[in-house]
C-alpha cells in the first residue's frame, strides 16, 4: 500500500531521501504543469520544477502540516514563477507553434481522435495559452489552480491571501475574458458542444 504524503513527509524530515524522492515522483508532473502554464517555457518550467523540490526539501523542517503538502508545493512553485517573471521582466510566454505539422501531429493523436479534431484541439490550445498569458496574474493563477489542479475555493483563497469571495470574482472575471477572446479568435470549440 502506497504511503500517504504525510507519512512520506514525516520520513523525509528525518533525512530519508528515498521517501522524499517518492514525493518527487508523485508530484513532479503537476508541479511542472503549473510552472509551464504559468511561465510558458518548457526548459524554464523544468528548472522551476527542480528548484521547487530542492527548496521544499531544505524547508521541510518549517513545514508544519497545516496545509496539504501539495498546496505547500504549489505555493513554492508560484513564488518561483513570480520571481522568474520579475527577473525576466516580461509577461508569461504563450509558447505555441505558428504552423501545424501534420506528420508530428499524427504521432500525438489517440486512436479515437481524427486528424481534424487534433488540429482543432491544437489551435484551441494555442489560443487558450495566448489569452491566459494576457490575464492578470491573480486571475490566471486562480484559474490554473481551480481548473487543472482541483483546489477548493478556500485553498486558493489561503494561497492568494484573499477572501473566498475574491477568488470567485477572479475566476468569473478571468473566464469571462477568456470566453470573449476565444470567441473573437473564432477557435472556441467548447462553446458549441455545450449549447
Amino acid at each position: 500500500m502506497a504511503s500517504t504524503d504525510e507519512e512520506l513527509v514525516a520520513r523525509s524530515r528525518t533525512g530519508d531521501l528515498d521517501s522524499f524522492n517518492q514525493l518527487v515522483l508523485r508530484w513532479e508532473r503537476p508541479i511542472y504543469a503549473l510552472a509551464y502554464r504559468t511561465i510558458g517555457r518548457e526548459e524554464d518550467a523544468r528548472d522551476v520544477c527542480q528548484e521547487t523540490f530542492l527548496r521544499a526539501f531544505r524547508a521541510l523542517g518549517g513545514f508544519k502540516g497545516e496545509a496539504k503538502f501539495s498546496s505547500w508545493l504549489y505555493r513554492i512553485t508560484l513564488n518561483l514563477c513570480r520571481d522568474w517573471i520579475r527577473r525576466e521582466r516580461r509577461q508569461p510566454v504563450a509558447q505555441a507553434p505558428e504552423g501545424v505539422d501534420l506528420v508530428e501531429l499524427a504521432g500525438e493523436s489517440s486512436p479515437s481522435e481524427s486528424i481534424e479534431d487534433l488540429v482543432a484541439r491544437k489551435e484551441i490550445s494555442a489560443a487558450v495559452a495566448r489569452v491566459m498569458a494576457e490575464l492578470p496574474e491573480e486571475q490566471r493563477t486562480a484559474i490554473l489552480l481551480k481548473e487543472y489542479h482541483g483546489l477548493t475555493f478556500q485553498e486558493i483563497a489561503d494561497m492568494q491571501d484573499c477572501p473566498l469571495s475574491t477568488v470567485k470574482t477572479r475566476l468569473y472575471q478571468g473566464l469571462t475574458v477568456l470566453r470573449r477572446q476565444l470567441e473573437r479568435s473564432g477557435v472556441s470549440g467548447g462553446f458549441k458542444n455545450h449549447v
Binding site: 533525512g15 531521501l17 522524499f20 524522492n21 518527487v24 513532479e28 508532473r29 511542472y32 504543469a33 509551464y36 502554464r37 518548457e42 518550467a45 523544468r46 520544477c49 527542480q50 523540490f53 530542492l54 526539501f57 531544505r58 501534420l102 506528420v103 499524427a106 504521432g107 481524427s114 486528424i115 481534424e116 484541439r121 484551441i124 490550445s125 489560443a127 487558450v128 495559452a129 491566459m132 484559474i143 481551480k146 481548473e147 487543472y148 477548493t152 475555493f153 469571495s165 470567485k168 470574482t169 475566476l171 468569473y172 473566464l175 477568456l178 470566453r179 476565444l182 472556441s188 470549440g189 467548447g190 462553446f191 458549441k192 458542444n193 455545450h194 449549447v195
Partner: protein, 278 residues
Amino acid sequence: MCEDKELLVGYLYDDLGDGDRARFEAHLRGCEACRLELKAMRGVRADLAAWAPPVPDFGFRVVRGGRDAAERDAIRPVIAAPVSWRAWWTPAAGLAAAAVLVLAAAASLAHVEVHRGPDGITVRTGWPTSPAAATANAGATRPNIDGAMVPAAAGAPSVAQRGQVDPEFIAAIARRLDALEAAASHDSSVRNASTMSARAADAEIIKRVRELLAQSESRQQGELALRIAQVIRDVDAQRMADLTRIQQRLGRIDATVTAEAASRSDLTNFILTSARQK
C-alpha cells in the same frame, strides 16, 4: 440573482450547498440570460481542457552532494537516464548476460588464467599435465634416484656439485639404470603413451574451447543483426502506416473542401441568376 456571479461560479464548479443549488436551479429555469452564460462558461472550461503541457522526460531525483556530505545543504538534483532508453537496451543487456555465461563456461573448460603483471595482462589457457610437468616448466629439473622429476636444487647433489667423479657411484648408477630399464621397459611404453595422450587431450580441449567461443561470438552477432533488422523493419512499417493514414485524412479534407467550394459556387450562381431574373 443575475448579478450574483459568485453563485454562478459556485454552480459552475459544483461547489454549492443544497439550498443555494436549489435556489440557483430555480432561477435558471426562468432566466435565459443566466442559462446562456452558464453554457458559455462551460464551453470555456472545455476549451481550457485542450491546453495540455508537453510531457518532458522526468527523472529528476534528489541525492546527497558527496560521500561525506551529510548536510542538507549538500543535496543536489540529478537526472536519471530516460526510461525509454533503458527499455531499448533491455534485450542487449540480456544478450550480454548470456554472452558472459557462455564465456564463463568456456573459460572454466579451458582453464583460462588471467594475470596482470608488469608486462600487461596475460591470458593463459589449458590444464597443467602433472605437478611434475608444471615444475619442469618453471625451472631446471632432474630425475631423482627413483626416476621422478625433481628440481635441480632438491635431493642428492649433482656430480658437478660434488666436484669429482666417483667410479663406484657411476657403476651403481649404471646398474640401477639397467635394472630399472629392464623392470620398466613395459611401463615406459605405457607411460609415454599416457603422456602423449594427455597432451593430445589438452590440445583437443583448447581446440574445443576455441570452437565454442567462435560459435558463441558468431551466434551473438547473428542475433544482434537479426534484432536490428527487425527494429528497422518495424519502424519503416509504422512510418509507412502513419504516412498512409495522413494521406487518407488529407484526401478526405480535400474532398470536403472541394464539395464546399462546389456548393458555394452553386449558391453564387443561383443568387446571380435570381438577381438577373428580378
